[in-house]
Amino acid sequence: MEKMSRVTTALGSSSISGRTMFCHLDAPANAISVCRDATQVVVAGRNIFKIYALEEEQFVEKLNLRVGRKPSLNFSCADVMWHQMEENLLATAATNGAVVTWNLGKPSRNKQEQLFTEHKRTVNKVCFHPTEVYMLLSGSQDGYMKCFDLRKKESVSTFSGQSESVRDVQFSMKDYFTFAASFENGNVQLWDIRRPDRYERMFTAHTGPVFCCDWHPDDRGWLATGGRDKMVKVWDMTTNRAKEIFCVQTIASVARVKWRPERKWHLATCSMMVDHNIYVWDVRRPFIPFATFEEHKDVTTGIVWRHQHDPHFLLSGSKDSTLYQHMFKDASRPVDRANPEGLCFGLFGDLAFAAKESLISGDASRKPYPGGDRRYPIFFFKKPNPTEQFAHVSSALSVFESSVESRHMDWLVKTARLYLLSGKPFAELCDHNAKVAKELNRPQVSTTWTMLRIMFSDPANLSTPGPNHIGKLGTLPLMNSFSMKEMGTGLVAEGRLERSKGESRQDNLHLEPGNSLINSNNDENEETEGSEGQAEYMFGDAELDDDDLYSMEHENHAAEEQEYTLPQEAFPLRHEIMDNPSAPEHLQQDKADSPHASGNEAEVMCLTPIESFSLISISQPLFSPHLPAQFFCPVVREMLIHYAEQGDVQMAVSVLIVLGDRIRKEIDDLTQEHWYTSYIDLLQRLELWNVSNEVIKLSTCSAITCLNQTSTTLHVNCSNCKRPMSNRGWICDRCHQCASVCAVCHHVVKGLFVWCQGCSHGGHLEHVMNWLKSSSHCPAGCGHLCEYT
């Protein structure tokens, strides 16, 4: 008895045959177990308890163990195990806490042999001793494990885990006396069956419940555990401290784990929730499953290898009420489908690219990357391990460094910085942005802005019709020369330009009274996009006028506009601080700010009439009075979508903001939200915090504006008692002292508090500003030379 003879039937794989097959059960299965000679399988669940014979082509129901008119809860099985020595002996764990043994050799219909009702809670697991016929172990929700001698009426020993519910118990395959138990609190305990007073060893294996464990069939010291934390860990138990030697991260909590027979490194897992597949892992390659079985439609609840020396057959039962036999050769191999190429951008625009070696070497000779500079290809070699059945792929890693000039994102950053999105009349914003785009060599965008200005600059109330623009067709040569001059670079550089022009042309075409005729004309234009020449001439006049005008205007205003830009960035931020003003202080605050703001506006105001006047006077003849701005909305919408699809979400968002209410209703909220989030994400990646904040502020989507509300809480401690001030920012609930007093007026500051970072004195923004105008010393009298900038 000491030295166990290994019970080997030495069954060659030749004697088992079959194919991938399944059968429908009547009810969801909770567990399955197979008899020793691999010819029969028992399926147990809440409403099912049946034995199926495994035949060549199909499962055949052999026996229904669920008998009686009103089956009791003893039939409601959480687990089942077929004895590996005695082929007539089965044990089940019932959800009501009963442990039942069944003797198939009984002549009566009811095969129930013994009933143990010693556990108070659900029994999660039963386990027969691998070599001892009469020894049965059970683990229950009540935290106890019990060992039964089947010749006796009750348990022979009880093991108390002293921690929470037992989820799994497993006799060691090699150590006669040892068994492992896994617990809901993440612990695994090792017990000696002869010593029920305390465990031999305990260690924490997982965070959260350990749902399963399995001893390695060959290696004495290895124990695999699976837990709710989605990990499978392999522990070496031969050393003093259990040592984690492998760890596989799966995508869902691990319900069962079973070592694959005859394959030292392989184990099969299935999950408890969400994921329905069965995975076979090579523990040395933890990042990709070795094989996957994807047949089940609901979670797999039981897996078992059909024969303990045959690695090719896997049986599984599932909540979807099916029982499967999987052939290993039919498994899908994720590694075959995996993409051995990888691509990643570095922080400074460098590009790393890993690919199969063969691919790279071929590439190198062709020199296919004119843009990048291929510097150092690195080759990694992993020593091939003959026992690993994984496909070996060696990859080459190349890093491409981008030259400084070719930073393609430059224009985006600059544009983001320079665009004006608010704070000025619509027309000016458009002009400004058009100019920015033009300076950055993006004539198409520039033109779009100009177009937008023309379309939406409210000319509708002017009644003079402008039927004369057809007549302007005559001035072709002039136009031609102009556009070449002004937009030379653009026409050459950007092919897309033509398309957008086509769209803008379309708008203008609609102005014509003979709509149908022009439409057909227009269609032709769309189809023959390449031959843009004609159409260009037709409406070039509009461009001529505008460009003429604006080139002039911009030169005039360039200097002034620079001046606006700076204060605009510096000041609006203050207004965003909303402190739930309940005190009049805030009003003062506003006043304090207002000189700047109003000064700004004053300048704008005095400019506006001039600007808009000139505008209107020019664009007046272009529009017939019965065409309101809404008329263009569909076209503008298409344009925005076009830009967004081209990847220039910046343009889409900027136009959206600048046009505001004029276009907002045309585009559905989700799309807008999508654009905003993409743009904001982009800006934040580029660390353009100010711009992103401005965009958030100006957006009209509630989902976006509330981004500004997240993590805006400032926790303040009282300067007196150093406790957190929970209620208001200026008075402490505990010591009833006002925390922040203005150094100038000695009143409490309830709104903005500005303080010197040198001496940490401060007060009302307005007061401190005034004070420091006349004095350079700190108002508190500390002698520090404060500065307000």
């Binding site: 959480a78 408890m272 969400v274 739930n580 559905d668 509630s702 509330c706």
Partner: protein, 471 residues
């Protein structure tokens, strides 16, 4: 019936906290108050305050509570009787409302308002209306549910089902919310919303069950009528007519617990018997309490504008002569195995926090029962927890529902049923009428158990529906 021979005649032989209370009263402070000033209408103020002063850990925790109203609100004060639990409660609530999650902050508070309004819990409604104001966005939603976006209004359907009859929720409900469209929810958002709903439904139970007083203006907005002032604080004075009765009640309960523990092996009930016991308990829960309130009270509180279909109320799980929905088997869909995995997958980390909260609530014990020390109360706690689940049609195979019958007296059952199923009807009389010789902190403990059991039941039904939708 056991005898009270070993009882000393002292009126203050109870625990530390109680002794203090009683001694104070004897000095002449004993006045019959409606407790409108303290945190709870049911519990004398000094008891709550004293507890928080006694325990330094509590105070620190309360300080961390950082509630919007400036001071530690009444709810936190009452819950502070169990500081260990309070900590995990606050941690999960903070995570739900403030930390990163799929839903924007103001929506979370709005969902909280919707959930609390279902039970006309003006305490929670006004608390979160205030919070919502602080967010400063979409303030017009506060005018009523019809001003909220369609997406939130769609949530109303599962809100009302979860609040009153969670067993009716199906995967079709989930499908309707998640299916692609203009107002669709992502699964992560939905899980967040469901957890919020369950949390605040359960919290409403706690608020009513412990008679939390409204924060600012007492009386007018509250649903409690100060009529129910009994002359019993929970600690029986010598003049109390029911004193001996209640003492023997306690003794009887202790006795029954002991007997149940001992007799467990011998009491070999057949399986059919066990099943019948569950059914019986389920059926009996119908008769408990519900009869008095046949007429449906239309809500008039300030929360009513956040309620649509206000007449949808609780109906018993097991109704006579109707097709009952199938019993929910706890072993087939448990929080530990299934619920946790799903929640944590879709809304990371909340599973851990909720797990911690459930565990703390279930394991919380001081090994004492009223005046008795060294008592294993596991049975009693389990009976309370499972009785709530039983009313919601969740059955544990491994539980003998006969225990419920033996351990929970009728007045307690009435209280449990009211607090979990229609908390707005809870009265001081109900609170006072059960376990008269127990401490208030123990009754709060009962409330905590009821709250967590209810929340878990709602979550289990909702998450099972989501799982079914996903598979």
């Amino acid at each position: 019936m056991s005898v009270t021979a070993d009882f000393s005649p002292k009126p203050f032989h109870f625990c530390n906290i109680c002794q203090k209370v009683i001694r104070k009263k004897e000095k002449g402070v004993s006045v019959q108050r409606p407790f409108s000033s303290g945190p709870s209408a049911f519990i004398p103020e000094d008891e709550v305050v004293e507890a928080s002063q006694v325990d330094p850990q509590t105070e620190q925790l309360l300080a961390e509570a950082y509630s919007p109203s400036g001071c530690v609100d009444h709810l936190t004060q009452v819950m502070g009787l169990h500081p260990h639990y309070l900590e995990s409660f606050l941690r999960s609530q903070f995570y739900l409302l403030r930390m990163d999650g799929p839903l924007p902050l103001h929506c979370r508070h709005y969902i909280a308002i919707m959930a609390a309004a279902r039970h006309q819990c003006s305490f929670l409604v006004s608390l979160h209306v205030r919070e919502f104001y602080r967010m400063g966005v979409c303030l017009d939603w506060l005018k009523g549910l019809q001003y909220a976006p369609q997406r939130l209004r769609n949530l109303n359907e599962i809100n009302k089902i979860l609040a009153h009859r969670p067993w009716l929720i199906t995967k079709e409900h989930i499908q309707n919310l998640v299916k692609t469209g203009e107002h669709s929810w992502s699964l992560a958002e939905l899980v967040h919303a469901v957890v919020l709903l369950a949390h605040f439904h359960a919290l409403a139970s706690f608020v009513f069950g412990s008679g939390i007083n409204p924060q600012v203006d007492a009386q007018n907005a509250n649903a409690f009528q100060p009529v129910y002032i009994s002359n019993c604080y929970g600690c029986p004075s010598s003049t109390s007519p029911g004193a001996t009765d209640s003492v023997s009640e306690l003794e009887a309960l202790m006795d029954r617990m002991k007997r149940l523990q001992e007799d467990r092996e011998e009491d070999e009930a057949s399986q059919e018997e066990m099943a019948t016991r569950f059914e019986k308990e389920k059926k009996e829960s119908l008769l408990v309490g519900s009869g008095d309130f046949e007429d449906e009270v239309m809500p008039t509180s300030r929360g009513s504008r956040f309620v649509e279909d206000a007449t949808f109320g609780y109906q018993d799980f097991a109704r006579h002569g109707e097709d009952n929905p199938p019993t929910f088997r706890a072993q087939d869909y448990s929080w530990e195995d299934h619920g946790f995995s799903l929640v944590n997958r879709l809304y990371s980390d909340i599973g851990l926090l909720l797990d911690d909260k459930f565990r703390t609530a279930c394991d919380l014990t001081y090994y004492s029962l009223a005046s008795h020390e060294d008592v294993d109360t596991t049975m009693l706690r389990r009976a309370l927890f499972n009785y709530v689940h039983c009313m919601y049609g969740i059955r544990y195979d491994d539980y003998d529902y006969g225990e419920v019958n033996q351990l929970l007296e009728r007045s307690l059952k009435v209280y449990i049923k009211t607090v979990t199923c229609y908390p707005e009807r809870t009265t001081r009389r109900m609170y006072d009428s059960y376990w008269r010789q127990f401490h208030h902190s123990e009754k709060v403990h009962v409330n905590l158990l009821l709250m967590e059991a209810r929340m878990q039941a709602e979550l289990l039904y909702a998450l099972r529906a989501i799982t079914r939708y996903m598979t």
